[in-house]
């Protein structure tokens, strides 16, 4: 399934916030058509790593290549333009705006009248309505309703629907099933697999090792800002995976030593 050259290649990445060393010499490859589980304890550096990939943080040193090209400037807009979509826990939707307005925020479809770009409300409404129906929002929720009215699951659905709709190459899911009902969780996970099967790179961040072991092709484990393990899910059982995280990577070192 994996291509020969990685879609995203991270080389010797370091990130400092003042005295805090948030990422330590991280190197990892991600291929198109892969579903990668990114796991580790709170503060392990998972979210920090993906924030570099989606352009929010610029690394202190090291390199990131996207599709073989080195990324020189880090900005969310550039990442989105390259087709890297991120679904984060608490970020991504503005409560004060309608679903349709949130859906297209930053890349609004326009109709030009006398050369002036006006929002194409009809298109915004129609497309976002179709997507929110597909992702199982309540029937009485319309695209004109403010996001404030939505439940946690519905919010995630809007974000995922948005990522699917814009035909991205990379979808990063940062604990996408938090606050979701069992059924909604299954739906989101099915979707992650579906995205992968369409040839996208899916990076899935979670604390739920058993869930990610079932879903992912490969699991990358982080601890204290460093990558401590990177293994195919075929090569390790979920229990072994859990043990590695519990040991903070020492198990892997031991194994390598042997």
């Amino acid at each position: 399934m994996t291509n020969t050259h990685p879609l995203i290649q991270v080389k010797n990445l370091d990130l400092h916030f003042g005295a805090f060393h948030a990422l330590k010499n991280v190197s990892v490859d991600f291929h198109a058509g892969e579903l990668i589980g990114l796991v580790g304890d709170n503060g392990a550096g998972k979210t920090t790593l993906i924030r570099v990939l989606c352009g929010i943080y610029a690394p202190s040193s090291g390199e990131v290549f996207f599709d073989g090209k080195k990324i020189e400037k880090f900005h969310p807009k550039l990442a989105i333009d390259q087709g890297i979509e991120t679904i984060q826990q608490s970020v991504g939707l503005c409560d004060n705006l309608s679903i349709a307005r949130n859906f297209y925020l930053g890349r609004e479809p326009v109709k030009r009248i006398l050369g002036i770009p006006f929002l194409d409300f009809a298109k915004m409404r129609e497309k976002s309505t179709r997507v929110i129906r597909q992702f199982g929002l309540r029937d009485n929720v319309s695209a004109d309703d403010e996001v404030e009215r939505l439940s946690g699951g519905e919010r995630q659905s809007v974000k995922i629907g948005r990522a699917v709709e814009f035909m991205n190459r990379v979808v990063i899911m940062d604990e996408p099933t938090n606050h979701l009902s069992v059924r909604e969780r299954e739906h989101v996970n099915e979707l992650a697999v579906q995205l992968k099967e369409q040839g996208l790179l899916v990076i899935y961040i979670t604390h739920d090792i058993f869930q990610v072991h079932k879903l992912a092709d490969r699991v990358v484990i982080m601890e204290n800002g460093a990558k401590v393990a990177d293994a195919s899910t075929d090569a390790m059982t979920a229990e072994e995976l859990e043990e590695v995280i519990r040991q903070g990577g020492r198990l892997v070192e031991k194994r390598e030593a042997v």
Partner: protein
């Protein structure tokens, strides 16, 4: 209808209706005269320009305390530069000065990551100081030629029997309303104030949005100053003093939330109408003019409580 009720200006519409009912009941003969209506609408138009700009900045979750000084500075520039540049030239340069003040403050807020309240408080003092230095404390007038210049009349006179300022307000408000409601810029401006982090995660350059809002705000304040002086071409060093407070009050009465992301152009105009009407009616009723400030304070607090209750009733979290 649902859109209207849910819009941020709805509270102000109720406020204006209630105010007009009360003024009609207590002072019918004094309130509904041509003179009163003309004066109130003229002053409302001027304050509304400043309040609309303020509303745009507040919607991005910032504040601009410098608008009164910018209003004065643009007015002073317009009058004192006229002999050298002519009316159109001084008009353009006065607006450019206003825009520059907005831009510099925005850069300090956005790039320096400083609180806008402090930066624009500095701007308030700095611009007022420049007015004192520039005019030397003296009064400046337009020459008779400048007074009768077509542009002066277009900005300060009457058109079709209506004060030019009101027609300008309607035009500019329509443009700003469309900009805010129906363009990508407006969508991103509201997003910036609603959740800056989320907006940025969608690739919105919130820095640029804020800079644009501050520049627009200063331009509108400057334009209001110019309109005032085209109507009465005489500058004072106190031109526009305390206007920032009235403009903030108007924007807030009009439904702008200082927490950002919510507000409307119509609300800002109606807020300005409420502020000006109270000032006018209190004086007309013979209350000492100094009481007016106290009343505005009371109206402001009542309006905030009312808007908050209304927002809860409509299901907004604010």
């Amino acid at each position: 209808m649902k859109q209207l009720v849910r819009s941020q200006g709805f509270g102000a519409i109720i406020g204006v209706v209630a105010m007009l009912v009360v003024f009609t009941l207590i002072d019918f003969s004094g309130w509904w005269t041509n003179q009163t209506v003309a004066n109130v609408s003229q002053f409302t138009a001027i304050l509304a320009f400043v309040a609309m700009g303020q509303a745009l900045v507040i919607m991005t979750k910032e504040i601009d305390l410098s608008v009164g000084s910018v209003y004065g500075l643009a007015g002073v520039a317009f009058i004192t530069l006229e002999p050298a540049l002519g009316v159109p030239g001084s008009f353009v340069l006065a607006l450019a000065i206003a825009a520059l003040v907005g831009f510099l403050q925005a850069i300090a807020v956005v790039k320096g990551e400083l609180p806008s309240m402090i930066v624009t408080l500095g701007g308030l003092f700095a611009a007022r100081g420049i007015i004192y230095v520039w005019t030397g404390g003296s009064v400046h007038n337009f020459s008779p030629a400048a007074r009768s210049h077509p542009m002066t009349r277009l900005l300060g006179g009457e058109l079709f029997g209506i004060d030019a300022a009101i027609l300008w307000l309607i035009t500019v408000a329509a443009i700003l309303g469309l900009l805010l409601w129906a363009t990508p810029f407006g969508n991103r401006l509201l997003a910036t104030g609603g959740s800056r982090e989320s907006a940025e995660s969608r690739g919105v350059r919130t820095d640029r949005i804020k800079i644009a809002a501050f520049i627009l705000c200063s331009l509108l304040a400057g334009f209001a100053g110019i309109l005032t002086l085209c109507n009465q071409p005489q500058t004072h060093v106190t031109l526009g003093e305390n206007m920032e407070l009235e403009a903030i009050a108007a924007a807030v009465i009009g439904g702008c939330l200082l927490t950002g992301g919510r507000g409307s152009i119509l609300g800002a105009i109606l807020g300005a109408l409420i502020v000006v009407s109270f000032r006018y009616e209190l004086i007309a009723l013979g209350a000492p003019s100094s009481w007016y400030i106290t009343f505005i304070g009371a109206v402001l607090i009542v309006a905030v409580i009312f808007n908050q209750k209304l927002a809860r009733f409509l299901g907004h979290s604010a």
